[in-house]
């Protein structure tokens, strides 16, 4: 929080944050209001209490799991040099690219009782020594191994931007390597770890595809059952409010985790501790750990999909890629790029405005912009529809013939708006985590030297929070390419994306046909992730070099 000096001139920034928050929160508010306003009897699921407990258990186990796996791997690739490290460093982000609506089936058809893995084990060693897969621990394991990249990416960026002097000072003062890690490095990375963890928790909360496959009844499953099975959107939206409350708790927890501490550091953007060369068996062990983490959420599914795609190509060589392929891909990429740019721009402006104004109100408003991530995707979609229906009513009431017309579902505008709502959280978390670490005195100095807030944004905050900005961009891009429920619900006629294409086939169990487009989704993530790591020198850093 910057002091009161010069505050009057910056009130415009306050209004901007409030405006952005209002625009982004409108659909979520529409759902909440719709849920609470409903006069009809609302039926809540009979086993709601059990659902709440299940949700909590899953959130805690996946949270701990991703923190250990994501944080651990980030530390490993930061401090160690081992075989394949450079490739693995960026590949560890790729599980994020695997769509949940594909992974559940691929995983179970591979690892469940009748799948090839267990059949092989049964033939070799006899029956009954593998625990059942389709359980809460099974779901927790799979979700951990697909969601850890959120923590990993944030932690990796955080470790890399820590100035080496901090770690070196601790070591010079006699701290062991692990003591330096626990006492210096981890506390400094806490905002980033907390941000990654919050994202993971929200993913767990709103996931439907994976939990449904594993027979785990979270509150989100309740939402969908109530809605799709009972045509009861009121009850479903009330349940969504419950999901949202969970998310509020998560975000409050994240603030608590960050505490009152400041995370700014001297010496500007650093380059992290100098890596140690892991030789021989230790080096290969490190490689193996990374490969294991990648195996379940990425390597095996990709292998299986590739197998199916080849089978399909053998059967029907012409049918694999048809003429619409390029169009769908272009649509996916355009929407994802525009979304990523918009989310990053808005996040940056909001985070910057917070610095300029401070105070509880804008801080709360900024938090509100991230709630779209904490409501099941399809509910956000309906929220957008409802919000625009209300707007239409208002415009009509104001005397405009025909109202707003078919604004949401008649063009791509609805999808982009919904994506902005949905993906503000990953963008804002990443940008904010990075900007938090910029010294407030830096901002104040710039202010006192007469720089305008806009100039501070572009010349001070943007360059210093650069790694967060890049991380935000890539996270949103990867998320937006695989996103399904919103585009399915809001797209206009004649508009389709790769993810819709995959889902149309997967829903009808044409897995062999769905394999190739699913691989395309995964492949599109490779380029931005690789570029991010190169650009940010997260792969191979020059000793002592600052970006």
């Amino acid at each position: 929080m910057i002091g009161r000096a010069g505050r009057s001139g910056r009130s415009a920034w306050l209004w901007l944050v409030l405006l952005v928050a209002a625009v982004i929160a409108a659909p979520v508010v529409a759902v909440v209001v719709d849920g609470l306003r409903s006069t009809g009897s609302v039926t809540l699921p009979a086993d709601l209490a059990e659902m709440v407990v299940t949700t909590l258990l899953l959130m805690i186990s996946v949270g701990v799991g991703t923190l250990v796996v994501g944080g651990g791997l980030a530390w490993l690739v930061t401090v160690g040099r081992f075989p394949l490290r450079n490739a693995l460093t960026w590949m560890l982000v790729l599980p994020l690219a695997m769509p949940a609506y594909i992974l559940g089936f691929v995983f179970l058809s591979t690892f469940d009782e009748a799948g090839p893995v267990q059949t092989l084990l049964r033939d070799a060693f006899g029956a009954g020594w593998l625990p059942p897969v389709r359980t809460l621990p099974g779901a927790a394991l799979v979700m951990t191994l697909t969601l850890f990249p959120y923590v990993y990416l944030m932690a990796r960026a955080a470790f890399a931007e820590q100035s080496p002097t901090t770690y070196d000072a601790a070591r010079t003062l006699g701290a062991s390597r692990s003591r330096a890690l626990y006492a210096v490095v981890l506390p400094l990375a806490r905002p980033s770890l907390a941000a990654g963890l919050a994202l993971v928790m929200m993913e767990v909360l709103t996931d439907f595809a994976t939990v449904q496959y594993f027979g785990v009844e979270t509150v989100s499953v309740g939402v969908y059952k109530q809605w799709r099975g009972s045509y009861d959107f009121e009850s479903a939206s009330q349940l969504s409010v419950l999901v949202l409350l969970f998310a509020v708790a998560v975000l409050a927890g994240e603030r608590l985790l960050r505490g009152r501490a400041r995370y700014t550091q001297r010496g500007g953007r650093g380059s992290g501790p100098e890596p140690v060369h892991l030789t021989g068996a230790r080096g290969w062990a490190a490689t193996l750990v990374c490969l294991l983490a990648l195996g379940v959420g990425f390597l095996l599914p990709v292998l299986r999909l590739t197998g199916w795609a080849i089978e399909e190509a053998r059967r029907d060589a012409d049918g694999v890629v048809d003429y619409r392929f390029a169009e769908y891909l272009a649509n996916s990429l355009t929407v994802a790029l525009v979304t990523a740019l918009a989310c990053v721009a808005v996040s940056l402006v909001v985070a910057h405005a917070l610095r300029m104004t401070g105070g509880r109100l804008p801080r709360a408003a900024a938090q509100v912009t991230t709630f779209g991530y904490a409501v099941p995707g399809a509910v956000v979609g309906i929220g957008v529809l409802l919000a625009f229906a209300d707007l239409d009513e208002l415009v009509r009431a104001a005397g405009v013939e025909g109202g707003t017309g078919l604004l949401v579902t008649g063009s791509v505008a609805g999808i982009l708006y919904a994506y902005l709502i949905r993906f503000m959280a990953p963008a804002y978390q990443a940008v904010d985590a990075s900007l938090t670490k910029v010294n407030t005195t830096t901002t104040l100095s710039a202010l006192s030297l007469g720089a305008s807030p806009m100039r501070i944004l572009t010349r001070v905050h943007l360059p210093l929070a650069r790694s967060g900005v890049f991380v935000a961009f890539v996270l949103v891009l990867v998320d937006a390419i695989k996103e399904l429920p919103l585009v399915l619900l809001l797209r206009p006629f004649g508009f389709s994306t790769v993810s819709v294409w995959v889902y149309e086939l997967a829903k009808e169990n044409y897995w062999e046909k769905a394999a190739l487009p699913a691989l395309v989704i995964v492949a599109t993530a490779v380029v931005p992730v690789y570029l991010l790591f190169r650009q940010e020198r997260l792969i191979d850093r020059h000793p002592g070099g600052t970006a």
């Binding site: 009844e217 009972s230 045509y231 721009a345 808005v346 063009s411 902005l420 619900l489």
Partner: protein, 340 residues
């Protein structure tokens, strides 16, 4: 200096979020008939054939049942949809209840679609049927083990302990099956039946293909699946060790799910939409059920060879209103007994 910068920021934001309608519309001429469909099987081929025959261009948008219905409702008068297709009798009933379907009077449709597979007011017409029946692994099961009168309920017999696999409760087909049991036997008895499956340690899976793979591998002896998945799998893997058994043939008959559609109230091309619906119920039946191995609803149209090989069967009567009305109760029941 500050104000222009802010304006630029705000403008950039609004441009990014709202100004991107450019890649929304395609250059192609607009279609004559717009279809919202929660089913996707072979619609493309069927609509292509229709276009060739009539010159009317059809465009469709695939989505989830509940979501599409909600979209139709909120779009209101502005909705581009002319026809709405969905995959479950309960969903057809719900769409009618929501008032988005317009009754159609048509001799062609009344002649083609048997009375039990259409709405009495003509708000919707069924087009294809999916049978939800029992499949088994012939190495482990002798078909004489099945209760021929109440096959679904009979799976609660202790002799099936540890041998059953079924779909999860989020699946509409599971909900419909339980609804059918409730409608046939009453709620208490239906609850007892579901409980007896659970007592037999039924293995609950989340995909019909996974069920078939499990029966094939012998990790399950018996499963309840949709008939066309077996037909399709057998086409690809003829040596699959799975046989089909028509359930409850000496009793109420096999449970069916009806897929169909109706003309949307706000449509501005109702005559064309009706023409498409009529075509799908007659000449277009083959194309509509086509490669998906569903049963055509029109008795004059023969089912394809793969499913004819399963032999004839007696269907359980469909009461769309009961499916629509009782579905929520079925979900409650499943939750109460703890069926995941």
């Amino acid at each position: 200096m500050r104000t222009p910068a802010l304006v630029v920021c705000t403008l950039a934001l609004s441009a990014a979020t709202a100004g991107c309608g450019i890649f929304g519309g395609s250059d192609e001429e607009p279609a004559d008939i717009h279809v919202y469909s929660a089913r996707h099987y072979d619609l493309e081929n069927a609509f292509g054939e229709f276009e060739e025959e009539t010159g009317l261009k059809v465009e469709f948008l695939f989505g989830e049942d509940a979501e599409l219905l909600q979209r139709l409702e909120t779009e209101g008068e502005g909705s581009p949809a002319d026809l709405f297709f969905t995959v479950d009798a309960g969903n057809l009933w719900a769409a009618d209840q929501a008032g988005v379907l317009d009754p159609v009077e048509s001799e062609v449709l009344e002649g083609a679609v048997p009375e039990e597979y259409r709405d009495s007011d003509g708000s919707w017409y069924g087009l294809a049927l999916r049978a939800r029946t029992v499949v088994y692994n012939p190495d482990n099961v002798d078909p004489s083990e099945f209760d021929t009168e109440n096959t679904y309920a009979g799976l609660g017999d202790p002799k099936w302990q540890g041998r059953l696999c079924m779909r999860d409760s989020t699946e509409a087909y599971t909900q419909s099956l339980v609804t059918a049991l409730m409608e046939s036997y009453g709620r208490d008895e239906a609850e007892r039946i579901v409980q007896s499956w659970l007592d037999n340690d039924v293995d609950i899976m989340s995909n019909d293909i996974l069920l078939l793979e499990a029966v094939d591998a012998g990790t399950c002896d018996v499963a309840i699946v949709n008939h066309y998945y077996l037909a399709r799998e057998l086409e690809e893997k003829p040596d699959m060790n799975v046989e089909l058994f028509w359930a409850s043939q000496d009793g109420l008959g096999v449970q069916l799910n009806l897929s169909g559609g109706g003309v949307v109230t706000t449509s501005d091309a109702k005559a064309d939409a009706q023409q498409l619906l009529e075509w799908l119920a007659t000449d277009g039946q083959d194309a509509f059920v086509g490669d998906n191995h569903e049963f055509p609803v029109n008795p004059d149209v023969k089912p394809d060879e793969a499913i004819e090989a399963f032999g004839p069967f007696e269907p359980m009567p469909i009461d769309a209103e009961a499916y629509g009305r009782l579905n929520a109760d079925a979900i409650d029941l499943l939750e109460e007994v703890g069926y995941e």
